[in-house]
């Protein structure tokens, strides 16, 4: 509710634009109205992140001031982005490194494992293919949170509890099915004749996949990569239980340590959040077009 309320604040610029369009087009009035609604919608969805950005530029006394000021009055504290890495709550540089390593290696593992399977299931028949794809779909509906109690014990028994490896495997396994599914639909869209021509020239299956198919399905691969990366980057539930050492925890878990403190350093929480959110937003924006439809490939048709 609170996020919708500030809507009117954006009306003036939208109204100005409405006028310009109104003189050019027959349906200008309606277009202007749509743009105004669009601006309000955009503002509502961006508002928490604007609050985050503004908060990250306040001083400690400003952000804890009662009553609070909407905007910084003592100048923009860009220095927060330097000093925030050294706080008593959690070793943030380590948390950032953990987040990066877990997300990068989980994504690489998914790519390595899912690409051949996606290619093979899109191209060839084999006994048990339906069962295999069924298994993949069921996995897609599960999340680490559902199995955390089992995963926690399993990692303890394997002796890899509280390691990057454990979280790389978990993130890879739970994002595998989506990546496989989307790549499968891209491989399936390539005419088989292309493969057959290459095979006639004596190319093996691996060569056909790498040389002939991969250049054609790269949009699918990019989508799978970005999606896996973003989801591993933001994973919370399993990391919360499995990563017990402060240095090993990803940012999602580390940042919750600030909450409930007597005087939380919100400016640092928000600074770190901005640093962690901007790269993934850019990645997601890159595949914005493919988010429509691509995500539910096979299901919505």
């Amino acid at each position: 509710m609170a996020t919708i309320a500030p809507g009117p604040a954006t009306l003036p610029p939208a109204q100005a634009r409405r006028k310009r369009y109104g003189s050019d087009q027959v349906s200008g009035r309606r277009m202007g109205l749509r743009m105004a609604i669009g601006a309000v919608v955009a503002l509502v969805f961006l508002l928490p992140y604007v609050i985050m950005l503004v908060g990250s530029l306040k001083t400690r006394s400003e952000i804890l001031a009662v009553p609070p000021a909407y905007f910084p009055t003592e100048g923009l504290q860009w220095s927060n982005y330097v000093t925030m890495w050294d706080t008593p709550e959690t070793p943030l540089p380590y948390n950032l490194v953990s987040t990066i390593i877990i997300a990068v290696f989980a994504t690489l593992l998914v790519l390595l494992v899912a690409t051949p399977a996606a290619y093979y299931t899109a191209r060839f028949r084999f006994p048990g293919k339906t069962v295999f794809l069924f298994l993949v779909i069921v996995t897609q509906m599960l999340q680490p949170a559902v199995l955390t109690a089992g995963l926690f014990r399993e990692m303890l028994v394997l002796g890899i509890n509280d390691t990057w490896l454990a979280m790389i495997l978990i993130n890879a396994a739970f994002n595998l099915s989506f990546a496989l599914w989307i790549m499968h639909s891209f491989f399936a869209a390539i005419p088989k004749e292309i493969d057959e021509a290459a095979q006639l020239d004596g190319a093996g299956k691996l060569t056909v996949m790498f040389r002939v198919n991969l250049p054609l399905v790269w949009p699918g691969i990019v989508t799978a990569v970005i999606f896996t990366f973003v989801s591993s980057w933001n994973e919370f539930a399993a990391s919360l239980v499995i990563m017990s050492t402060a240095e090993n925890q990803p940012l999602s878990v580390a940042l919750t340590k600030f909450i409930g403190q007597y005087a939380t350093s919100w400016q640092y929480v928000f600074g770190v959040s901005i640093v962690a959110i901007i790269p993934v937003i850019i990645l997601f924006a890159l595949i914005e077009k493919r988010l429509i439809g691509g995500l539910t490939a096979g299901a919505v048709k």
Partner: protein, 311 residues
Amino acid sequence: MSAQPVLANPAASPGRKRRRQNSDGLPAALPWIGPVLLLIFAIVIFPAGFMIYNSTREISQSGIDQGSAGFANFADVFTDPNLPRVLLNTVVWVVVVVSLTVLISLALAQFLNKPFPGRTLVRMAVVVPWAASVVMTTTVFYYGLDSNYGIMNAFLVDIGILDSPYGFTKNVIPALGLAIIVAVFVSIPFTAYTLLAGLQAVPEDALEAAKMDGAGRFRTYFSIVLPQLRGALAVAVLINIINVFNNLPILRIITGSIPGYQADTLMTYIFKVLQFDRRVDIASALSVLNFAIVIVIVAAYVKIVKPMKEL
């Protein structure tokens, strides 16, 4: 199952013949699909089985298996005085969040499907909460509605909705209400995009025919657009049910400072038992209960959406 769509579509039969020629049997397929199977077995199926096994064991707080407990853990779970409240919270949480999300997303998808200058930018803005970490998004709301220094609270006072800042995260009902708003906020992007995909499949000529016949906007929406959206809607609803049911960070942050279990859902309760009580056996029994509910939802997904029909 896989033969069905091929039979239903006569044009596909030459392809079927060719595909059969391509079948080399399971041994030839294993190098290609083996790693996927290994990962799914090791990280999804094994822990699920292990969790079920652990739910019948007695496990000490330091993690040592002290032998069989039979169904004692389940007996503990089902006689737990907190369980009725936790289950009630879970049902309210899922039903309210999913219905609000779907209703708002239906309107938003309809709007984002109309052409207007700057539409791409608005669509991108809508993607942001989807890409951003739920933990980080939730912290903003938690901070913003703090009763002392929260700027959302200050804003509500400035525009006259509140007389004085209110401690939203201090009491059970307002905290759950706030958590619901945050959950709806972060669930809308995926839902709106899924419904947008469905809207783009609505045939243009059907809409024009309806216009010709003099059907009003509402009539057109309910008799042409909505039936076409059925598939997308089913996917959106089911995936949202799963996601909201299993959500941990929102409630953990917003209701985390409330003592006791009055504001817990099954998921946050499991994590409290696992982390604070260090009772892996009880947490496993609770997780098995949770897992059983998820399986029922997944079965509904497979039955209603029939994701295999494309194969």
